[in-house]
Symmetry: C2
Subunit: 203 residues, 2 copies
């Protein structure tokens, strides 16, 4: 079913919320248990960003500024910089966070409320950690929240009993926990189809 | 390794935070895809509660007051009542919530701050929904958070790709996402061993 068929509502002022799309995510340590999924996620993110810039709707880049001395996300390092496909342009909001959720220890919630933003489209990394923590809060805070499943990715990991799960298994369990409870899951093509029907905000 | 071996710190005033342990969780609809795990969870919760009452540390019962007309958690119904093993006694705090996280739309965070509570021991249902949403926020809000894995349970469900996962698989993936990132996972016997070394607060 296409986004049009579902009547996907992306009201004027729907914000694109990008989570932790920084160079540190390419650090080899994340794939110690196996490769990531969704290798096309960055190109999907790039296409979604271009569409948002075209209509002039709000774009918010959440940046993880780790306080851990050995984290590749620590400010001042190569890893803290945004990936090329998700680099902010002047005028786009950057929200720095130090924990998993984009809503904790940041001004994100009041910023959204003051801007009258009620609807969020979320993408980024990793699905089951900062993305999931942020989406759970977004939904619980009553934002109308969409998560773009093929514009997120994660890595293989072991579950608490030691069973190795592929990145796609981890991703699919996280999405199941979120969909219909905290957000609605979409694909990039649905988001692009929906936003392409929106009118640009006059400059 | 026992709790004693790990030197588990449960400071005076460590709060026991019980999530949604209400009769509605026994509704047959939750087990439509397969049975729950941890059938001993309620007796573990009962033992933990008794230990907390013995030392006189704070006990907080989070109750889900669903606003959905067809939810067994809606107030005024049998399902909204606490299960017998987790029924509050006079003087124990009850926090009513309407969404997944115990911290959203409730006074839980300021209540904990004002009481000087920095450490939480969490149990309840279901692992991958309200428990996980609450534990993620507790950790991100800088509470020193422990989750008692065998005093929680969940149900079988399908992941986002339609793969049926047993309750134990869902539980183990949720615990892996939480452990070391948002909380420390413990077993009931570790919690009981740790709290038994604590002195009662004089009445």
């Amino acid at each position: 079913m296409s986004a049009g068929d579902r009547g996907l509502p992306l009201p004027v002022n729907t914000a694109l919320l990008l989570i932790d799309i920084q160079q540190a995510i390419d650090d080899a340590k994340w794939s110690a248990e196996g490769p990531r999924n969704n290798p096309q996620a960055e190109s999907n993110i790039s296409a979604i960003l271009a569409a948002w810039r075209h209509v002039g709707y709000p774009i918010i880049h959440v940046r993880h500024d780790s306080t851990s001395p050995d984290s590749p996300y620590r400010p001042g390092q190569w890893g803290n910089e945004f990936k090329s496909e998700a680099r902010p342009t002047p005028g786009e909001q950057i929200i720095a966070k130090r924990t998993n959720s984009g809503f904790i220890g940041t001004g994100l919630e009041p910023m959204l409320r003051e801007a009258g933003i009620r609807t969020l489209v979320v993408a980024g990394v990793i699905t089951n950690n900062s993305v999931e923590a942020t989406v759970r809060m977004a939904g619980n805070l009553s934002f109308n929240t969409y998560l773009v499943e093929d514009a997120c990715w994660t890595f293989a990991r072991r579950d608490y009993e030691g069973q190795l799960r592929s990145a796609q298994e981890v991703h699919a369990m996280s999405l199941a926990n979120l969909d219909g409870e905290y957000c609605t899951i979409l694909r990039t093509k649905e988001v692009l189809a929906a936003i392409s029907g929106n009118r640009a905000i006059p400059a």
